[in-house]
């Protein structure tokens, strides 16, 4: 019995350690991704109106679709309604701050959005932060106040990053971005 006790203790320890390994891994996996919150103030914007390219595309194109479904023209030959129309694109440059009072600069962000139908755009964005760069892509509705993008990669401290960016309006004409970064090996 006296000899068996240390052995049992050792076995119990081994079992405990073995049991702890998957638990630790599971808890790490389920642990909420670190959230990075930044506030973005638009600095400059450029809208690209591709009306002439759309018009040209109705006459000369490699497809056989009916042109009336592509662009809606008024009697004066101009496009009906307000854009953005398919093919237009818009570029936004932002300054980023780490605080809601917009006093601590922390980088810049660039959004390049290519409009499709129904005023929806696919936006490629990058957040150039102090520790590296994060890349995010997704759909944004024109005029919409909330949107989410998928983080598709990163560099340096964000090497191999994945995750999600959620955006909501903030005070002082700013946009708040919550970046949930996962999948970082470093």
């Amino acid at each position: 019995m006296s000899r068996a006790l240390p052995t049992r203790c050792l076995l119990a320890l081994v079992v405990l350690v073995a049991a702890a390994l998957p638990v630790t891994a599971a808890s790490a996996a389920s642990h909420a991704a670190p959230k990075l919150r930044v506030y973005a103030v638009p600095r400059t914007v450029q809208f690209m109106n591709h009306a002439d390219d759309r018009l040209r595309g109705m006459a000369t194109n490699p497809f056989k679709f009916k042109s009336e479904t592509a662009v809606i023209l008024g009697d004066n030959g101009k496009e009906k309604g307000n854009g953005p129309f398919p093919g237009d694109d818009i570029l936004y440059g932002f300054k980023l701050f780490s605080d809601a009072k917009l006093t601590k600069p922390t980088g810049t962000a660039l959004f390049t959005c290519y409009y499709e139908f129904a005023k929806r755009a696919t936006c490629d964005s990058y957040f150039d932060l102090t520790k590296g760069l994060l890349l995010a892509t997704g759909q944004v509705q024109f005029g919409g106040k909330h949107f989410s993008l998928g983080i598709t990669g990163g560099t340096q401290a964000y090497f191999g990053a994945l995750g999600q960016v959620d955006s909501v309006p903030a005070a002082r004409n700013a946009q708040r971005f919550d970046l949930r970064v996962t999948g970082q090996p470093k």
Binding site: A4, T7, R8, L10, L11, V14, V15, V17, A18, L21, P42, R43, T44, V45, Q46, F47, M48, N49, H50, A51, D52, D53, N82, G83, P84, D88, D89, L91, G93, L110, T112, K119, D124, Y126, D128, L133, L135, T137, F142, T152, G153, G154, T155, Q156, Y158, F159, G160, A161, L162, G183, P185
Partner: protein, 178 residues
């Protein structure tokens, strides 16, 4: 008892053996180096679309102003312009072992910076990267996140660094994959 202990220790040892290579693989990742020789380039000037965009746009009057000198006609890309570059990729600096091609499709934003998508067609699959690049004389290197791939590179993730090489007007493209 000793038999149980041996089994338990063997189990722990097996778990440790399984865990260590996985950790090493994550830390080390894969590293690939190619030498890229430019073959073609095309610049697409969207000055008319910029001008029209200032006049006809879906924003209210309180929209932010566009960048100054948006359409000055000076050399260099302006916001919204496109640039396409193609490369041949070699495995060696003497450019003898051709291993694939690369295409960069870039859209300028501001201050001669562009967002570029790089598509790399290699012998056993493809890789995709995307990110910013300074496309003017101040270019020294660009580091783009690698976002995916096909074939041998399916699920590729990491970054690619491109910098000028001293060999035959080429770029060195260094992939670091997770």
């Amino acid at each position: 008892m000793s038999g149980r202990l041996a089994v338990a220790l063997a189990a722990v040892a097996t778990a440790a053996m399984l865990a260590v290579p996985a950790a090493q693989a994550t830390a080390k990742g894969r590293s690939l180096v190619y030498y890229a020789k430019p073959t073609r380039a095309q610049f697409i000037n969207h000055a008319d679309d910029r001008t029209r965009g200032l006049r006809l746009n879906p924003f209210n009057a309180d929209v932010l102003p566009p960048p100054p000198k948006a359409n000055t006609g000076k050399k260099g890309g302006r916001a919204g312009d496109n640039a396409l570059f193609s490369f041949r990729l070699y495995a060696d600096s003497s450019l003898r072992r051709l291993v694939g091609t690369a295409i960069f499709s870039c859209t300028f934003n501001f201050a001669h910076e562009a967002i570029c998508e790089g598509d790399f067609a290699l012998s056993h699959g493809t890789m995709i990267a995307m990110g910013p690049a300074q496309l003017d004389s101040s270019f020294t290197e660009m580091v783009l996140p690698v976002t995916g791939g096909t074939g041998r590179y399916a699920g590729a993730h990491g970054q690619v660094t491109s910098m000028p090489s001293i060999f035959k007007n080429t770029q060195i493209m260094h992939f670091e994959l997770v």
